[in-house]
Symmetry: none
Subunit: 212 residues, 4 copies
DNA sequence: GATGAATGAGTATTCATTCAT
DNA sequence: GATGAATGAATACTCATTCAT
């Protein structure tokens, strides 16, 4: 394995900025919900955190559920954009995986509040979460397609791509979870995720790559 | 992979029965919370599901939080008992892993409501969940200790046990999650979990066992 | 004024004992209600304090309200018995007052829980308190009749007996209240009530007795 | 006794008006609690009486207890302001007493709901009533200080001021109680209180003033 | 009689949402 | 657009009372 960090692939994933106020409120909501859980967060808390009045929240969102949906959608969008861009590049399956997972962890390392929410609420039967249901849906879909393509191209040994995608996605979430709960220092957190990703990729290389 | 199911290791994990009413209510609560999420579940729903009056719930639990805590504790207890019993047997690290993870999935396959809750609520900052915090805490601790012991005994190649435990635990949760969300038929679910576990163990055998 | 205590007139006012259990429960209830207030007392607390089961309370009383009514009635009965006996004796108005008020304070000094309750709840619009309404009703009726008789006999100067009875009854309650709230030591409390009563009687002698 | 009413000393004690809504709710609550007792009053009743929604009550008060505390505090405040202003005037002890007690009764005659509450709840062990504990605390403190000062100045004969203050405060409360319970007509009530106060002051003049 | 588990009507309190300013 | 007071439906929890054992 080369010496440089697999998370070094960093890029401006977090380009944001659209409607000032809306974004301001989304971020505030993400912080509050990440720390309290959705059920224990109130619109008042969110408005206070954002420094606006309650009414203002309703000028940008239809309600609490809509706020949650939006947080999921933004997070989803970031990944989807990157993943679809990744599809176009000419890379091996393992390279694609490395970059996709790396980007996922990188985004979390930069702003974990949304990630916490996805982890916490993604499994709950919110009528509002809808298509984003499942904590790593976009990620899982991406991983699955990479695996399927890789197997088709003979790069990877044949295996049920749904199952393996579930394992890989789960492992990444497990990494996140362990370090979101366990590593307080943001600096150390980056390193920890980096280590974990390297370990995971190593396992996959040994276990999945077709014998040449 | 050997021909017999890795989930065949089934055993009477789900011995229950204690205080009739309390257990009745716990189960009903687990079903309701699993399907609605903790925040959207009401004591009335739980009482109705259990076929008792609201007041009766309060004769056995101090409140909604206490119910959740109890559900976690029972689930925790089941695993802990099995894991500690597993420690005493004379097994290789991989065998121990296979049996431990198998039992975990087996318990879920039999009664998934508690598992859903642990998956959903285990990450939330409930003041009540306490030491059980983290969706796979007991499992992670078990996996970590098996890995550490295995590495010390020279059975496994050296690797940061915290990181690898996080990956393995996550992969198992990912498996659960995918199938809890995706496979409606309980029969097929068992098979799916079985497949997933086999795949995971295969990966680990290739990737973790020290070269002989 | 003679040197001996005005409360020395003590007599076995607190003869009780009737139906063992009923009395046991009444006393327990009085203690609980005196310390918590009627509204904050529960049948459970009372049963626990009495060392019986909740159901047992209902074998002797029709409910919480009935319990309160009974406590009032017993207290009322003690005074009424003594007062009516006092009517028969050949005494001056001031002597009668001295003995009546003395007995009242004496009973309180011996067992203040019922007195606290009468003080606290006597004014509340309980549908259950009924005729005992008003914290010092029996006392007031007694005082009023002594005053009226005394004025008729020319012993006391003429004055509206209702008004004066209210003042005297109030003063006695004020005394009780001050010392129930203020003097923790039961011994000192006796002395304090004694002092207060002497002072009150002195005022009344000067202010009410008809000039000879 | 002079011909003019001792309650004639009337003054704008009941200046109110502050935060419209809060005051509106306080008054409604006072009416409800006065007629039902604290324990039997519900927030719904209070909100209905005030003509607002339940939630609105909670926009101004932290809860039922806070409402009670506030009612006590306002009543306390009215007296305290008047009493402290009275201290500054150049008056004899008896004059001070006459005006202080007069103002107390006057305030009650104008708005008896708060007075009923203080009488009813002031003795209960509400954790919320705190320093206002005791039904006539402010009044008692005032009376005591007047007595002590009067005795020091040689205007009054020596006597334990605590005891005498308890007697006087109690007598005033007795008066209130008798007439709050007994005199339905508000006009007659004023006269009755006036009579009672005159009688009390007459007794005190005879009984307490130092022989010249 | 004694017991105490079961009951469910009753209540305090919260909080998403609206809307007049 | 921004505000935040008002709203009232929703919900956790209490506790007097009953009744089968």
């Amino acid at each position: 394995m080369s010496a440089h960090s697999v998370l070094g692939v960093k890029q401006a994933v977090t380009a944001t900025g659209e409607g000032d106020k809306k974004e301001l409120i989304r971020r505030a909501a993400a912080r509050v919900i990440a720390s309290q859980g959705f059920g224990r967060s109130t619109i008042d808390m969110i408005a206070t955190e954002a420094g606006v009045a309650v009414g203002t929240v309703y000028n940008y969102f239809h309600g609490k559920d809509d706020l949650l949906r939006h947080i999921f959608a933004v997070e989803h969008g970031k990944r989807a954009a990157f993943f679809s861009e990744l599809e176009k590049r000419d890379l091996t399956a393992m390279e694609r995986l490395a970059q996709g997972l790396g980007m996922h962890l990188c985004a979390v390392a930069e702003d974990d509040s949304a990630a916490r929410i996805v982890l916490q609420e993604g499994l709950l039967p919110h009528p509002c979460v809808g298509e984003a249901r499942g904590r790593g849906r976009v990620l899982a879909v991406f991983v699955r397609s990479v695996l399927a393509a890789g197997a088709a191209a003979g790069e990877l040994r044949p295996a049920n791509p749904d199952t393996v995608a579930a394992l890989i996605t789960g492992a990444v979430q497990g990494l996140l979870e362990a370090y979101l709960l366990g590593v307080p220092d943001p600096g150390g957190r980056r390193v920890a995720l980096d280590d974990g990703l390297s370990e995971l990729l190593a396992l996959l290389r040994i276990g999945l790559e077709a014998a040449k």
